[in-house]
Amino acid sequence: MFRVSLIVGILIWAQLSLANESCTQKPGINKFFQTGWGVDLAGQRFQADTTITSATARELSLKWSYGFSTDRPRVFPLVSEDTIFIGDGGLGLVALDKHTGCTRWQNKDIPDAATAISHGTIDGQAVLVLSGRESGVIAVDAISGETLWQRTITDDNPVAMYSGSPLVYEQQVFVPLSSMEIGLSVIPFYGCCTTSGGMAALDLATGQTNWYLRTIPEQPEVTGSHYFFVQTHGPSGAPVWGAPTLDKKRRLLYYGTGQNYSHPATTTSDAIFAVDIDTGKARWISQFTEGDAFNMACTTSGVNCPDPMGPDVDFGAPPVLVQLNSGKDLVLAGQKSGDVWAIDPDTGDTVWHHKIGRGGALGGVHWGIAYDPQHERVLIPISDVEAMPGEGEAEPGMFALDAATGERSWSVPRVSRCEGRQCWSGLSSGISTGPGIVVTGGLDGMIEIYATDNGDLLWADDTLRDYETVNEVVAYGGAIDAHGPTIADNQLIVISGYGGFGQRPGNALLVYEVTKETTR
């Protein structure tokens, strides 16, 4: 008996020692499974380097979970060979052991991490770059977690908001810029609005600005007044709150803009920009909805609501650059209106257009689309939440379009699940694709994997429950929204809970795995 106890004790001790040792190890940086929002620079969100496929997806099981310190996590992980880097609410940026979830390091300089993480190299040193919603852009040493530089970009906009994920390429960081004025407009005595969205290119090594491009070239002027003293201004808005997409061949950056905050509306709102990454000059700008002026004052019948009020149909979903088997390149863009556009990357002209559902202020296409290169299909999640809905029937669900023609290949409507949850089951979050699969997260808390060839449901898990976590924070699932799930190696990483815009809050980081044995 004593011998058995001794052996068991030694085994437990060895297990704990190994776990602790892995946590004290520095993160491996030899291989990153993605960069930024789009997994690749083209924003396809397609993960080729994974063992999760249409053949193995059914074997997924929960490996470990982690409790965020916020119930509205708005972040996206970056995965290396042994580490998951991710923002954690008030805690900052954390590096978690990929296999156990224990924390390797923590950087507290970015208490409001709100984006995906892109990576680059400075003098052979691996660097992580992400943004905090208000604290700005930060560059962090991937191994030590030490801050290399941190800055806000307020030369043009004193209330810049860093909602969109930055992207690192060569020695530049491209930073999308939105504005707090979208919310400040609710204050009746605020003179709405003067700021413009923008894109900044920073030097990766120093954080200094290489170029900066406003989305609205014109400077705002006084357009009137209310309450006797409060002056109103315009034009304003056209924020960039989605990540940029990079075209290495053309050396162009593609990104979408949102609506104007005040009149006069401009020709650059609800548009796709193509910008030279070396000069910051726009090659082309294609607008897809004219006259769209909206701000949050409109949700409270506030005095700052533009008249006429627009439909608020941003391009929040980053554009996707694809090359078809025919050799033709396309930029694919989904809009909150439910419109999907295929654009010629050389001219900005529309190649095809397909409308899905009714759209609305929270999508339509809200956070992001993805691409399946094997079948040449663009995968479109549709939210169609009842928020300033457009005309027509709601079609919350998953849609696959032929990338060459825009014709619908298959679609799967989402089933309403009302028990203990909000009934609306639309797909608002970004999605991800892998070999033969597309992974979606629902506002109802369901994570699902469909086959990209025919839309068959391969696997699903209900995340609307409590979780025991590796960091001993009480965690519970909620709506899956914002950046959505991602695939890397043999893992599926899901963030469940998003207490924004009336959705169900939650704070669960869930790491599912297919076992190595399964994949052989």
Binding site: P158, S179, L184, F189, G191, Y227, F229, Q231
Partner: protein, 156 residues
């Protein structure tokens, strides 16, 4: 008649002090609000960058407080609220305190009254004004800010 003889025994009822404080508590933000509208100090994007909202809020609040109470305080040891409830601040000798003592010392406690309103941001510090008030239960009816400034409140 000397000031000390005039005020030696007149402790105003506590309700008069509370009403006076309540009047000031409402009037100062109200005047700040009017100032905000007229000056446009919180009207532009600059006003909401970094610590600017706090900085400008302090400027508006201080200006409103002085506009409302500055003259009365310096001349008679009264705020608008105290004037309406017929009480005033005096030294322990019953004199009108020095203006700098009233404005640069005693009045600094006034913004603390708003801490309970800011409870989600200040947490436990929300109890500070109640602690200040608790000191007034003593026989001398001197709250913490009176003790710090070397003053007391007397009936007019």
């Amino acid at each position: 008649m000397s000031a000390s003889k005039r005020t030696a025994v007149e402790h105003p009822a506590i309700w008069r002090r509370i009403v006076a404080t309540g009047i000031d508590f409402i009037l100062v933000p109200a005047i700040s609000f009017v100032l905000m509208i007229v000056t446009g100090l919180m009207e532009t994007a600059d006003a909401y960058a970094g610590y600017q909202p706090w900085f400008r809020g302090v400027i508006l609040g201080t200006t409103a407080y002085l506009l409302l109470n500055g003259w009365l305080l310096c001349r008679r040891g009264q705020t608008i609220g105290k004037w309406m409830t017929r009480i005033r601040v005096v030294t322990l000798n019953g004199d009108v305190p020095d203006w700098w003592n009233l404005i640069l010392v005693r009045a600094l406690f006034f913004p603390l009254l708003y801490l309970p309103v800011l409870y989600p941001m200040v947490g436990i510090f929300a109890v500070v004004p109640f602690i200040d008030l608790a000191f007034a239960i003593s026989a001398q009816r001197r709250s913490l800010h009176d003790l710090v400034a070397g003053t007391r409140v007397a009936a007019v």
